[in-house]
């Protein structure tokens, strides 16, 4: 089918979104009045640096830097990209939670958004009352909900509990209720952000089927943000890859996923400049920043399962810290998480530059190629963990087969080596 024949569902032209970094607060009332007065009289804002858009009261950050995107009716568009690329910001603008700093957005149809599961559910109300409240928040009228109530309850699989207050629900039930309402909206444009990360496998499948149905049979437009490549494959027929607030790829799903996975710099290298990579989040990397990583005593990142991976980090620390942990997450090439290793908490007694060595035995990994995501965390006095810095898919490494291993693919043996079995012949 030629996409160009279909009517447009939504269009973004030259959309930019700017956020102000840092604290907005004390002392700004006077400055705001000054700026306002200057604008009123057509003068230059006394609180902006000359020739820049940097405000003295905080640096600004372009979450979206000129997005042009046209989505046609009935398309299921996936949006992928590393953390901080602007995926969620696009959805926030489309769902009108916030307005763009520059540019125009045209929506041809009502938008139903599920930016996060459980939006607008009130813990004190029963499931049934919440269906009405949630439905109304998402734009349904009472009559519409009356009509669909039975279908919604059936879809949620919660008939026996529908008159129980939601606070007695398990988190899985909570999600089912929320999704059941959203799935029955008649809105022409549906936007979802990682909704499917919760709920059991059967329910996830049901949700995917529902969304695909909405797109393929009912002519709805679906915009879906996810880090899970498998759900993107299952749902979408077009995919956009984002990087640093821009669209870097727009097209079919498989090439998009390939493009996304190839983004992680420094593949097959052992000497990695982490400072150039995408660090997750706005606030991360401020107190502690990963600058450089060396995979020691290696010329290429290939290990046998008997080996131990030795990591030498070069870090930049703003202050001294205690109880800092390294998190090392292994993912397969198809982006399934395999497992996570944590270091023991360790102190960093000096600020400024620091070197740190970590070692990870690899015996649990089956032969194959993997991505490693790196994160530094700090254990707070209360026991909670505070993320200091994180890089998704910082590098790729390979575990080679040793002689007696079966030569089979990842799908046949999996990614994890389970302990040896014991057998007894009776």
């Amino acid at each position: 089918m030629d996409l160009k024949d279909r009517p447009v569902a939504l269009q973004l032209s030259g959309v930019k979104k700017q956020y102000r970094l840092g604290q907005i607060g004390a002392g700004t009332l006077q400055a705001d009045l000054q700026s306002w007065w200057a604008r009123r009289r057509g003068r230059e804002d006394p609180n902006s640096k000359i020739g820049t858009n940097t405000n003295l009261h905080g640096k600004t950050f372009l979450a979206l830097d000129g997005i042009d995107l046209t989505v046609f009716r009935g398309e299921a568009l996936g949006i992928i990209g590393p953390n901080g690329a602007g995926k969620s910001t696009i959805l926030k603008l489309i769902s009108r939670v916030t307005a763009p700093t520059e540019g125009d957005i045209d929506l041809y149809g009502r938008v139903s958004s599920m930016l996060e599961v459980g939006t607008g559910l009130d813990r004190n109300l029963t499931g049934r009352e919440n269906i009405y409240l949630n439905g109304a928040i998402l734009g349904m009228t009472r009559r519409e909900i009356d009509r669909k109530l039975d279908k919604i309850i059936a879809f949620s699989e919660l008939e026996p509990f529908i008159d129980t207050p939601v606070k007695r629900y398990s988190s899985g039930m909570y999600v089912k209720l929320a999704f059941a309402v959203a799935a029955h909206l008649d809105n022409e444009i549906m936007i979802m952000d990682e909704v499917l990360a919760v709920g059991d496998a059967a329910f996830q499948n049901k949700c995917l089927t529902r969304m695909r149905e909405a797109a393929r049979q009912e002519g709805r437009t679906v915009l879906y943000v996810s880090h899970n490549m498998n759900t993107i494959r299952a749902l979408c027929d077009r995919c956009v890859v984002m990087e640093r607030g821009r669209i870097r790829f727009d097209g079919a799903v498989e090439p998009a996923i390939a493009d996304y996975l190839s983004m992680s710099a420094g593949y097959d290298a052992v000497d990695l400049d982490l400072s150039k990579m995408v660090h997750a989040g706005l606030e991360t990397g401020r107190v502690l920043r990963m600058e450089h990583l060396l995979l020691e005593s290696k010329v290429e990142p290939v290990y046998t399962a008997e080996e131990t991976m030795k990591l030498r980090f070069h870090l930049q620390l703003e202050k001294t810290m205690e109880q800092v942990l390294l998190r090392f997450t292994v993912r397969t090439l198809s982006d399934q998480a395999v497992g996570t290793a944590w270091s023991q908490p360790m102190p960093f007694p000096v600020s400024g530059e620091a070197e740190a060595d970590f070692s990870l035995p690899l015996s649990a990994l089956a032969p194959g190629k993997y991505y490693a995501s790196l994160g530094f965390y700090r254990r707070e006095p209360g026991g909670s963990l505070d993320r200091l810095d994180h890089i998704s898919r910082a590098f790729r490494f390979e575990i080679t087969t040793n002689a007696d291993a079966l030569m089979e693919g990842e799908n046949a043996v999996g990614a994890v080596v389970l302990p040896e079995m014991r057998g007894i012949i009776l």
């Binding site: 956020y19 769902s95 938008v111 109300l125 409240l133 928040i137 002519g219």
Partner: protein, 282 residues
Amino acid sequence: MPEGSFHVHISSSRRPLELKLGEVWQYRDLIWLFTRRSFAVTYHQTILGPAWLLISPLLSSLIYLMLFGQIARLGTDGAPQLLFYLSGTAIWGFFSACLIGNAGTFVSNAGLFGKVYFPRLTVPISNVFSAGIRFGVQLLLVFGFLLYYLARGAVSPHWWAWLLIPLILLQLGLLGMGCGVLISALTTKYRDLSVLVSIGMQLWMFATPVVYPLSELPKGALRTAILWNPVTAPVELFRYAVLGVGKVLPGYLAASAVITVIIAVLGVMLFNRVERTFMDTV
């Protein structure tokens, strides 16, 4: 699905300020659901439940009766003291609920507003409705005591003026909501205001003839200031209807109505402007 029946254009350029009331009307079911929820949640897991609607104004009226009636010996224009304070508490309680309930709209709903769009004005409007329903219940209480005092011949209400009570509610509701949303829009940036609200409301109450009648005030600057207080004239009118005491002040009522419209329009426009991007600052 109707073809192209719905189109929204979102532009970065600020459009002239607007009220967006049409959209609010589309979401009228939501207003009603919010109103119902506020009752379901407030009296959830309380022993006395909705009886609190009657107990709390009764208690505060008794306190006023002791403090202002017995100790300070302020007059009540000849109306029975309990009835005087009950009616004052009811009408002031309505106004202050409209204001205080809405002063934190953005900050306290940040979680919800940050995830899904619906016309934000539905929240303040539903707050006014719940305040109105609470007022209605309290008016029944006032009416009960009124019957008792009527039987004893202690009061002579102006029954025809009861017809004006809905108008008084409309005006005070608009004024309270207008001030409330104005404050809520400003508190997204300047949190200090939220601290000022509760103390400010106390002061405002004493600047309104709630626990004393207007006639007790000596002529002078203070009395003029209190007369210009936009809540004064409606409160006096309410007392005039319910208790048959107090004054009808047509000039000040008109001034109060003008102030109300200005504040409400200003408040809603600022509210609508803030709702576009407040998520970035909260």
